[in-house]
């Protein structure tokens, strides 16, 4: 096996470092032999390995504190009362409307598929966070429930805005609820659930708030303008609920007997 006439370049050093043998065994072995015999290349290899280790350690530090939240999107159940529907430009220009209709007719069905909703369900299915239960049809999605419980929960309260999001999920023993912001009004209400799943309902003017499910629990990315109540029904399998309040406030733990009764946490003002 012959020695190399030239010193090893960066590419060769990295290939040795990564033990990549894409150029064939002979070349790889020649590089290795050269490295053993050449002080200059050995020094260069040591220096590159030292820098590599340092850079890798630094990169390893850039990571998520916890698994990134799943891109779960709740499905609105209706339009909020008191807010008129936004008129789109095509509604004001007849020719645009005609063009839009033509486009809709011509568009393939796949283009109309609610892809982002599928992503939400995909995320949920992938982590097993959402349990398909209820009527057994396997159609549990956000905002869509089955049976009398679902019908009762989805029915708008008298005088209340007809909007809301409901999220049903299998909760971990330590269920973390993160609240992004203090609100205009509203509360987080914890109460025992009768079923095996946790259910989070958003009731009232949520100002576009859509709860996000992640492995540790649920995040409520609410805005200060929101005035919604969040009703979280907690199954018996949950041992502790940790509520992380906005603005770096200390987390509040609810456990033991407190989980068997209703706990109200005001979100107004802060």
């Amino acid at each position: 096996m012959s020695r190399l006439a030239h010193h090893l370049d960066d590419a060769a050093l990295i290939r040795l470092l990564d033990d990549v043998d894409d150029a064939g065994h002979a070349d790889h072995d020649r590089s290795r032999l050269h490295l053993e015999a050449c002080d200059r290349c050995a020094r260069a290899a040591r220096e590159l390995a030292r820098q590599d280790a340092r850079v890798r350690a630094a990169i390893a530090d850039v990571r998520w504190a916890e698994p990134p939240p799943l891109p779960v999107v709740g499905r609105p159940l209706g339009r909020r009362a008191g807010r008129p529907a936004r008129r789109r430009s095509w509604q004001q220009a007849p020719w645009l409307k005609a063009a839009a209709v033509l486009l809709l007719v011509a568009a393939p069905a796949v283009a109309l598929e609610p892809v982002r909703e599928r992503i939400a369900a995909l995320a949920t299915a992938a982590t097993g966070a959402l349990a398909a239960r209820g009527d057994g049809a396997g159609t549990a999605t956000f905002g869509a429930r089955s049976g009398a419980e679902g019908a009762a929960a989805m029915a708008p309260e008298a005088g209340a805005p007809q909007a809301g999001t409901a999220l049903r999920f299998a909760a971990p023993a330590l269920l973390v609820v993160e609240i992004s912001s203090w609100q205009r009004a509203g509360e987080l209400r914890l109460e025992p659930a009768t079923g095996a799943d946790a259910v989070l309902e958003v009731v009232g003017d949520a100002a576009g708030t859509v709860p996000v499910l992640w492995r540790g629990g649920v995040r409520i990315p609410n805005a200060p303008a929101a005035a919604a109540d969040y009703r979280l029904r907690i199954p018996a399998s949950v041992e502790r609920v940790r509520v992380r309040l906005p603005g770096g406030s200390a987390a509040m733990d609810v456990d033991g007997a407190a989980l068997r009764r209703v706990t109200r946490i005001p979100l107004a003002g802060g």
């Binding site: 960066d10 590159l48 995909l122 949920t124 049809a137």
Partner: protein, 172 residues
Amino acid sequence: VSVTEIVADAPVELYRRHHEALCRYLLRFTGDPELAQDLAQEVFVRLLERPPARGAGRAWLFHVATNLARDASRTRTRRRALLLGGWDRVPVADAPPTPAQELDRQRRVHATQQALLSISPKERTALLMREEGFSHKEIAESVGTTTGSVGTLIARAIRKVAARLGPALEES
């Protein structure tokens, strides 16, 4: 959309296996946690909308993610400016034992992100895909170069990042 319908889809397995790594890669690539999440979601939207004819795998996901991140970095420079504006905006890891250690850690992470953003997208892709365990061949396909050139790209990236990290880490 029913859960049972989705479970039958192949993307579920891809999502389960790679979503977290994809987010981590995109966080390091873009330096922006929100953007990283958006882009990771967009990758899976692409997968559902326009699945590749030969089937999608890990390399395909990261390839699409890299392209999206490059496009995003061209149009969302404001986010980068915000990130570079202060180390206190950096999302970081586990809760540290003391505030001083946390501060130190955030500085280090910020310095690393600055260093990563200072190298070319090609170098960053090569370095970060290598970190995620991709082979030189897969990296070459993703950045559009030969397998032999990947080593050069990686070495250049390492040297540049190490040079940027040197003074930053000494300061902290």
